[in-house]
């Protein structure tokens, strides 16, 4: 029972402190004054907070060598890179939600505040090394997101989406929590490090441990929307306000993967042979289901929902590869995926007319003529999700890294690599189906005139596309960053028994 080293701890959780304090300031700004500009001031405060978070994380990353973290909070490249990424994603989401809500006439200060609170949970998940912190991070992120989904109170679709998300989320949290309890029971530790060493030295209660691992995997698989735990995704992504969908698809998913990787790397590494087949099946099923079912969708957000499921499958391949390369690939992929997703959703926000009418492909028709820049940005981002070389920028390398990680893993994953490539080919069908109307059809007169997209939204779309393209030409800087960002558990090379059957 040591007295906590408060100042040292504060340094480690500075982003969370900044984000939560920023959330409170945002709320205060939102309730002070009665003029229409208060929600805008709140959004600006939230944006500034997110930017501070990005700067802070980059500063930690580029500053003095990182001291070892505690058994509660990690202090490694993985933590800071993903924190920067998540804060950047949150900043973009603040701008997008504000624009979207303003168009719908429901802009309010709580939205950016909740985004920051969700971000607090998400950044915590990049660093958590204690199951209590993991649980609280997940809950903080999820609770804020449930509310964000239902933020448009006039929309029945949003309410339905939120309640579905909530109930299924709570259900899966129960499994996660039970898994935590059983793992705790089997190992006597709440800390990933302690669990890892207890497992490595041979647990007395292997059965309890296995059941716990299985249930924790279920909980995590639900959060990353892996098949068959993905059923909530299309409905919730469809019903949520478009800007929030973008936030969920990009950042919430990235945070869930961050903790997924850290738990498997630090706590369950010695059990790789046991959980490997399970994740293998999940990864394959997720890629196939996401990519194939996306083909049948008419609504753009549902297409992107299934696409995000497919991406979860690719990312699971990186997790299954279970190596420093895999972790590198995961970080690289998350950066590329966040950029492409945020860019694409920024375009969708620009196109929405303020009602909760779902966007269909026809709404993209003639985008090239109406908004040539947005059309180009959209094409780049979607091609990046497809993994198209050069024109799709960094997305190609993201897939390449995952493929390489799969093939170079201590147990090579040829089959998963093949599934990845084949299902990516299938994904061409629906991705091109999104781009085609934008460039090949003439505009359909909108039922409701769509105002000019706000500068912030345009800037996000174009900036994402440009960064995607630039990183697609010069990916090595991002590769180096991602290499530095593998969790410290992988630093000493694979610590894993290599005697598993693929």
């Amino acid at each position: 029972m040591n007295a906590p080293n408060v100042s040292g701890m504060l340094m480690l959780i500075l982003p969370e402190v900044v984000l939560s304090v920023g959330a409170m300031i945002t709320l205060l700004l939102g309730v002070s004054g009665a003029d229409a500009g208060r929600s805008h001031r709140a959004a600006m405060a939230a944006l500034a907070t997110a930017v501070v978070g990005v700067v802070l994380a980059i500063g930690m990353l580029t500053g003095a060598p990182l001291a070892p973290g505690t058994t509660f909070i990690a202090n490694d490249g993985f933590r800071w890179t993903l924190t920067a990424l998540l804060c950047a994603g949150t900043g973009a989401a603040v701008v997008l939600t504000e624009a979207y809500d303003r168009r719908a006439g429901v802009a309010r200060a709580e939205t950016p505040a909740l985004l920051l609170l969700a971000a607090t949970g998400m950044t915590l998940l990049t660093a958590a090394r204690d199951l209590m912190v993991v649980f609280l991070g997940i809950e903080l992120m999820s609770l804020a997101t449930y509310v964000l989904v239902a933020m448009h109170r006039t929309s029945a679709r949003a309410a339905e989406a939120a309640v579905k998300y909530f109930l299924l989320g709570a259900f899966s949290t129960a499994f996660l929590l039970y898994g935590i309890a059983l793992v705790y029971g089997a190992t006597g530790s709440m800390q990933l490090e302690g669990i890892g060493s207890a497992v490595a030295s041979g647990a007395k209660l292997p059965g309890l441990l296995m059941a716990g691992v299985a249930l924790m995997l279920v909980g995590l698989a639900f959060k990353v929307a892996a098949a068959p735990f993905h059923l909530w995704t299309p409905d919730v992504y469809d019903g949520a306000p478009t800007a929030v969908t973008g936030f969920m698809a990009a950042s919430v998913k990235a945070a869930a993967f961050a903790i997924f990787l850290r738990i498997t790397a630090e706590a369950f590494a010695p059990l790789l042979a046991d959980w490997h087949p399970v994740l293998w099946v999940l990864a394959a099923a997720t890629m196939v289901i996401g990519n194939v079912l996306a083909l049948g969708q008419q609504q753009i957000k549902r297409v992107l929902a299934y696409s995000s499921i497919a991406h979860a499958g690719y990312l699971l391949v990186a997790v299954v590869s279970f190596s420093a390369e895999g972790a590198t690939a995961l970080v690289f992929y998350l950066v590329a995926y966040t950029l492409a997703t945020m860019g694409a959703f920024a375009v969708l926000v620009a196109l929405s007319d303020g009602t909760d009418r779902p966007l269909v492909r026809q709404d993209l028709a003639g985008l090239r003529e109406r908004h040539p820049w947005l059309a180009l940005a959209f094409a780049v981002c979607v091609l990046s999700m497809l993994g198209f070389p050069l024109a799709g920028g960094v997305g190609f390398f993201a897939k390449w890294q995952v493929l390489q990680a799969a093939l170079q893993a201590s147990v090579p994953q040829q089959t998963l690599a093949i599934v990845l490539v084949l299902s990516s080919v299938v994904s061409g069908g629906y991705y091109l189906g999104l781009i085609a109307p934008a460039f090949m059809q003439s505009p359909v007169p909108a039922a409701r005139p769509i105002p000019a997209p706000p500068t912030g939204v345009r800037a996000i779309a174009i900036a994402c596309a440009v960064v995607v393209l630039v990183l697609g030409v010069l990916p090595s800087s991002l590769t180096r960053l991602a290499q530095r960002s593998a969790p410290s558990a992988f630093a000493g090379g694979p610590t894993v028994a290599t005697t598993i059957q693929p």
């Binding site: 279920v218 059923l231 820049w373 170079q408 069908g429 090595s476």
Partner: protein, 692 residues
């Protein structure tokens, strides 16, 4: 791969600027074009931003030229080649660590410096010309965006230090060529021409990709230095295979038989594009690649002979077609194909310097010819417009006597004509002469002569090449003189009002021609033969010695050619050319008595030539037709409908099946979704519980 230790930061920056400036110009002009298109949706008659676009377009290329000159000056002052590493692209983790499979490595060495100077120099002149030529076009900014992008990719092609980077440039220039051929995509013929270029070039690309695959699997390297160093351990047969695969790629890009079909049609693009891309630079990329890959070809005399033979056949074949073409650009197009064949002859027999020399001089005089033709077309077009008449502004039969109205253009065109025909002391004389002499010298005895190609002895092949080359020179003299005579001399064949409307080029349409004219006259001094020492001898040869000296010697003649024999060949070539001019003068009056409107299609062999040996029709009947029929019956019926269905989300088997499945699973009822979650839990638990 690793940056040369002598390469300084400043040189790195210069090299980056050399490629970056045109790229930036392309981006800026692209932005301008998009912006214009956007304004047009509101105001359809909004003027094109001509001033800004031309400033950006010309400025970026001119600046790149200055950078190239700076780098070149450093190179001449004895500094080593500038090699810069701008990061890795594709990285392969292997046992030996992460080896870059593709790295952004660029090198400004003695060979690429020559090409870079030609590309940016001639490029600048053609950009200037374009300002005048495209003045009225609504897509002005788009045009310059494509053109700048082309230059950027062309520089990537020649500066890239590895096969994949070269390939990226190779594909990039192909893309720009495709975009520019179809620049006026409103006209379907142009779009078709663009598509044709696209398809034919893909065939060539297969060869290049195959060559890279073999090289990588055999040597583990794709950078020039590493891959070529790895050749030593390979069998000659394998090297020949690589050489032939490369030849296929080069033939596609440089329009050699049988992949030449796309180039004449590529003339559908704006004329300055024809000058820059389809005459001076891109189409010579194949020649450049053979020179760059000279260690491969020098190690395989068979592949070299194949290059030379393909070149010779192409040269003769295209020259004969050019004899009876009426479209001024078509004549020049076939002439380009023929001259590219000449270059292939040169590099095929291992006379790499000669090939590069002809590449450079050809860039000068052919660019001049195309720009001159452009000026003529521009003037004719304006005249027709002015006279409210309709006529083909490119048809030679509608011209005649233009020299009176266009004295400057006429004079410059005549200079260029005499240069390509090979009249001393103009540039073309020296470069063509050097190729013929090289072929002859090697035919008299060399590793090539003692090798064989498909059972034929190398010596026979070389004499065939020499013969074809000589006949080609004669034909070249005939058709080029014919072109100049028909266009500029004699009486005009169009209506008087049209004739009176023709005016000489001036301003940005004229000065590039003058500059190219000077280069056409003086270009020969780049590499004077020892036989004619009217200046420093063999400058280019000395310059390229570190690059191709060793490989040239490996295929070089056993004994140097005696002076008198060389004199005979040179003299014979000049007489040959003069003889051709004579024939043209003799036949001139009979060729085009009437304008295009009253002319009848040629018959017999002449007609066959006019229709370019009916190759296009044959290809259409024998290849395209059946493929299309197959496509219609099989592909359209099944595959395409499926793809189309997937794209539009409508029909399509897979899309429909996916729709059905998700309708069954995704019922919307969350109280059923929990069942799936529970079953997933059961499965996961079962999978792990049984293992414990």
């Amino acid at each position: 791969m690793i940056a040369d230790s002598t390469t300084t930061v400043q040189q790195n920056a210069l090299l980056a600027a050399l490629i970056g400036l045109p790229a930036l110009g392309a981006v800026a002009n692209g932005a301008l074009a998009v912006q214009t298109a956007r304004t047009r949706t509101h105001a359809p008659d909004a003027p094109a931003p001509v001033g800004l676009a031309s400033m950006l377009g010309v400025g970026s290329i001119a600046a790149a030229f200055i950078v190239a000159v700076l780098l070149f000056v450093q190179l001449t002052s004895g500094a080593g080649a500038v090699t810069a590493h701008f990061g890795d692209w594709l990285v392969f983790p292997t046992e030996a660590g992460r080896t870059p499979l593709i790295a952004w490595d660029f090198t400004f060495d003695r060979l690429s410096s020559v090409l870079a100077l030609v590309i940016t120099g001639v490029g600048t002149l053609i950009h200037v010309f374009s300002v005048g030529y495209m003045n009225d076009d609504p897509g002005f900014a788009r045009y310059f965006a494509y053109l700048n992008l082309f230059v950027a990719f062309m520089l990537v092609l020649v500066l890239g230090a590895s096969y994949p980077v070269l390939f990226i440039g190779w594909e990039g220039v192909g893309l720009c060529s495709y975009l520019l051929i179809g620049f006026w995509f409103g006209e379907s013929a142009n779009a078709d021409a663009g598509r044709k270029a696209f398809v034919v070039n893909r065939i060539g690309d297969m060869g290049l990709i195959a060559a890279m695959c073999i090289l990588f699997t055999q040597t583990g390297h794709l950078d020039f230095a590493g891959a070529h160093a790895g050749l030593s351990g390979m069998s000659t047969g394998l090297i020949t295979a690589i050489g032939l695969a490369l030849l296929l790629g080069c033939a596609g890009k440089s329009a050699q038989v049988p992949l030449y079909l796309w180039l004449p049609d590529a003339m559908a693009g704006p004329t300055p594009v024809s000058a820059l891309i389809h005459a001076a630079t891109m189409v010579t990329a194949g020649v450049y690649l053979v020179v760059r890959a000279s260690p491969i070809f020098a190690a395989s005399p068979t592949a070299s002979l194949a290059v030379a033979l393909i070149g010779a056949i192409t040269a003769l074949f295209a020259a004969s077609i050019a004899l009876r073409q009426w479209d001024i650009k078509k004549v020049l197009a076939y002439s380009t194909v023929s001259q590219l064949g000449y270059m292939f002859m040169g590099v095929g027999v291992g006379a790499y310097t000669a090939g590069v020399f002809h590449l450079v001089t050809h860039a000068f005089f052919k660019a001049l010819l195309f720009l001159g033709a452009g000026a003529v077309i521009h003037a004719m077009h304006a005249a027709y417009h002015h006279a409210h008449e309709h006529g083909d502004a490119q048809d030679l039969r509608n011209m005649g006597g233009l020299r009176a109205a266009m004295p400057a253009t006429g004079a410059l065109m005549w200079i260029a004509t005499l240069a390509i025909v090979g009249i001393p002391p103009l540039a073309g004389f020296f470069s063509k002469d050097e190729i013929l002499v090289s072929v002859f010298a090697r035919a008299m005895g060399s590793p090539l002569a003692s090798a064989s190609l498909m059972g034929l002895s190398g010596q026979v092949v070389l004499f065939v090449v020499l013969g074809f080359g000589t006949i080609t020179a004669l034909l070249t003299a005939i058709y080029m003189t014919r072109l100049a005579l028909l266009a500029f001399e004699g009486p005009g064949r169009s209506s008087t009002s049209v004739q009176q409307g023709v005016h000489d080029a001036h301003g940005t349409l004229l000065w590039p021609l003058v500059a190219l004219g000077i280069l056409t006259v003086a270009g020969g001094w780049l590499n004077l033969p020892a036989l004619i020492p009217i200046g420093p001898v063999g400058v280019l040869e000395h310059w390229l010695e570190p690059i191709v000296g060793e490989t040239t010697r490996r295929l070089a003649p056993i004994a140097a050619l005696p002076h008198e024999q060389e004199l005979w060949i040179t003299g014979g070539a000049v007489i040959n050319a003069i003889f051709g001019i004579g024939i043209a003068l003799w036949l001139w009056r009979r060729w085009a008595p009437v304008d295009a409107h009253h002319a009848t299609p040629g018959t017999g062999f002449g007609g066959l030539l006019e229709r370019a040996y009916d190759v296009d029709a044959a290809v259409q009947r024998g290849l395209v037709g059946p493929v299309l029929a197959f496509a219609k019956r099989v592909l359209w019926g099944t595959v395409d409908r499926g793809v189309d269905g997937a794209l539009t989300g409508g029909g399509g088997g897979l899309a429909r099946a996916a729709q059905w499945v998700s309708a069954q699973v995704q019922v919307g009822d969350a109280s059923r979704y929990v069942w799936v979650v529970a079953l997933g839990v059961l499965g996961t638990l079962a999978a792990l519980a049984w293992r414990s």
